[in-house]
Symmetry: C2
Subunit: 218 residues, 2 copies
């Protein structure tokens, strides 16, 4: 293949210790060369646009700027670098979000060093690198998504309904909601009835629980 030239890699990770570990590992692999390290998102983005590495290893959990944001910026910019997430989180949401945002791989930090190097070589060949667990995780996410599509799909609450749903989730009664919004209680009831129908629920208690567990997505 194209193993004649070493892969040029940039690491974006706020953990110096982990960066040291990767460096040491790279020294043992002639086909892999670490040409830059950044310990924050913004710094990493700058470095990537300057060095144009073949591969970016990107941590998900960083202070200041989230890894997913960094990923989005890298992928929306002019860079042609491939980006592999290297993180401790194998939470479904993170995996799915990363891949949706165009990540070229998702590896967990608890991999064995030799496995990790192997995966990086696979990425160089154009493949998508996934830790073993992550594949399973993806499968579950797909299942969950399927279930969701059959059930809900209609999350088109009006502004007013959203507003009232929030008040419900704070334990307020129709009367109180009416007072704080300066409308009649009967009006609040109408909105409540509508939002219950739209969410496929039967009582405000279910609505409250739904609201707190699905916080941001409505």
């Amino acid at each position: 293949m194209n193993a004649t030239v070493a892969q040029r890699i940039v690491i974006i990770d706020d953990h110096p210790l982990l960066r040291k570990g990767l460096q040491q590992l790279a020294e043992l692999s002639p086909d892999i060369e670490i040409i830059g390290e950044a310990d924050s998102g913004p710094e990493g983005i700058a470095m990537v646009s300057e060095l144009e590495p073949d591969l970016v290893l990107l941590d998900l959990n960083m202070p200041e700027m989230n890894g997913l944001e960094v990923l989005a910026q890298l992928k929306s910019g002019a860079s042609t670098s491939r980006v592999v997430m290297l993180t401790v989180s194998n939470a479904e949401e993170d995996v799915v979000a990363a891949l949706r945002s165009g990540a070229d791989g998702y590896l967990l930090k608890d991999m064995k060093p030799t496995q990790l190097m192997q995966k990086l070589r696979e990425v160089a060949e154009g493949r998508i690198a996934l830790s073993p667990n992550v594949a399973e995780c993806l499968a579950r996410a797909m299942q969950a998504e399927g279930a969701r599509d059959t059930a809900s799909s209609t999350l088109d609450l009006t502004e007013r309904e959203c507003e009232i749903l929030i008040h419900i989730s704070e334990g307020e009664s129709n009367k109180v909601i009416a007072r704080t919004l300066s409308i009649a209680e009967s009006t609040v009831k109408v909105h409540v009835k509508h939002l219950l129908k739209k969410l496929g629920l039967k009582t405000r208690v279910e609505a409250a629980v739904w609201a707190v567990t699905h916080k941001d997505q409505f």
Copy 2:
């Protein structure tokens, strides 16, 4: 001081990369020697009882066996090793729990290597090592604790009340709860009234929200 002999250290952490980083670091410090590595709690406990290191570096988030459990076992056993948590989490609860369980330090993995080494030397001198942020975190925890003592303090729901609270948080009506528990609706009402009083709430909606946000702690 007693810097004539190198500190003998055991690392318990499931991240090989991080262990490599620490090793490399230790090679540069003549007064620190890593005599063992374990990538799981049980393995680590066995290793500590065998090697009797001066210091144990212990990760908090590990599969199989939680770092706090490992800490508890180490501290309850015959070992005289000092134990320092080395982790990514600076969540208040974790810090507080670790120190309560007898940890001799709490360091974050995003420390600079030189700082880390310095902290380890401090531990050797009998001091408690804390990452800068952690101290602030502790202060907040203490404040929160004070507030809690004045406000709640009475989380002594009976088994039945807990059970019913869970059903409420799943949106079930008193009637349904009664049927599934095979008791009268009037009895359910009694339990609901009691748990509302104990939690200082007014409606089942508030109770439902409280339950989902405080999930495990009741």
